[in-house]
Subunit: 224 residues, 2 copies
Amino acid sequence: MLTQMTLQTLSFKQRSNPAQANSSIERTIEMVGVLKVLSRNGEIYAENEPAQHIYKVVSGIACTCRVLANGRRQIGTFCLPGDVFGLEVRAEHGFSAEAITELSVLVAKRSTLTGLADKDRGASDQLWSLFCRELLMAQERALLLGRTAPERVATFLLQMADRLSCGNSVELPMSRQDIADYLGLTIETVSRTFTCLEDSAAIEIPTSRRIVIRNRGALNSWAT
Amino acid sequence: MLTQMTLQTLSFKQRSNPAQANSSIERTIEMVGVLKVLSRNGEIYAENEPAQHIYKVVSGIACTCRVLANGRRQIGTFCLPGDVFGLEVRAEHGFSAEAITELSVLVAKRSTLTGLADKDRGASDQLWSLFCRELLMAQERALLLGRTAPERVATFLLQMADRLSCGNSVELPMSRQDIADYLGLTIETVSRTFTCLEDSAAIEIPTSRRIVIRNRGALNSWAT
DNA sequence: CGGGCACTTGAGCTTTGTCAACACTCGTGG
DNA sequence: CCACGAGTGTTGACAAAGCTCAAGTGCCCG
């Protein structure tokens, strides 16, 4: 059943769903997974490499990305602690994956997971639901890239505040360059937009990596 | 198993795959589906409406779209003859759908399809594979929106020539406005880019809706 | 022939990208 | 303890891409 799976990354708030937090899929990764530690910028796998393993972030953050013909890097997803990534439709990875910070991940064989889903209806359902969430995210992302710079940045901040579930004070784990590559903007535009949002009193920037949401309503209206 | 499905649209070249052209899923839609005819701009379903049916295009074309707060419309996917759309993860539609031309679709109950997938492993596999294709498309689309106007338009033309499988002469079924909404550009930019591509001898535009690909290599290099 | 609609074209403006300079942080070594 | 340098982030001036507004063209269908 899973011979043709395309999960680029599962993830997104599954931590906040108690029913899935200990799903058999995740438990399996945790039981059979081998811990791997990477330093910043370390490559986890390359684009077009055979997709034989899947990964679950323990600490730090990773991203999936592609380098385009013009040399520009496009980040597909940020993978936060708890997120699962690396499962693909095809036999090869469609994106590469790298560590954005010091990173530790659990690595499990793809065949173990697909075998489980073949036998266990519950596991298969969980993959479906994770997969569905992934598709929704990809669709949302496609829509986001059609919007203006302030809309993209504001939406990104709200997303990160939500995913890191740290109230209104967000410690961004990635650089401005990473954010720019994710949002399809340049580092300068991201930086300017941050200060613009700060000038409008929607956010506060105590240090460059720490963002405090001062006025969520204002930020929401920036995000349109 | 499919109680939480999120197929926004399946589709994309499944017609060209003989193994799937008569899949049990599609056969079921054709057997139990009720034919519905809509005129241009007719609404098939609205965003947030309960997702109780799925649809297969018989003739004409449809699109899934969203209208943003600022009034701008964003088209998610074009649904060509043979394409299936309307199946969702959640209980409600995440996008609305409307007819772009005169349109006839087969409408089937969602429960019929999910019931089939529950019983039939083959049907379930087909849904997986269609769903996977959908995710890949959404990811490609996200990458596309990060590119320049000529890149987007050239890629769009190549895609349409491929999907309509009509050789090098493409009869575009949608207006410039629809293309603009799909590519995240304005109607003027789309129009200018078309003439620019014509000036560069990559294409020819006998009438505004008919595009002839004169030099596929040149068009490919525009698409980067 | 005339009206309406879709499409094209032009001129000016806004947004974002580019290039360059500057500021801040943090760790190293004098 | 401070000086230095590398890395990261911010800011400014200018250029380019794309958007807006407005006018014009062509086509279809009465």
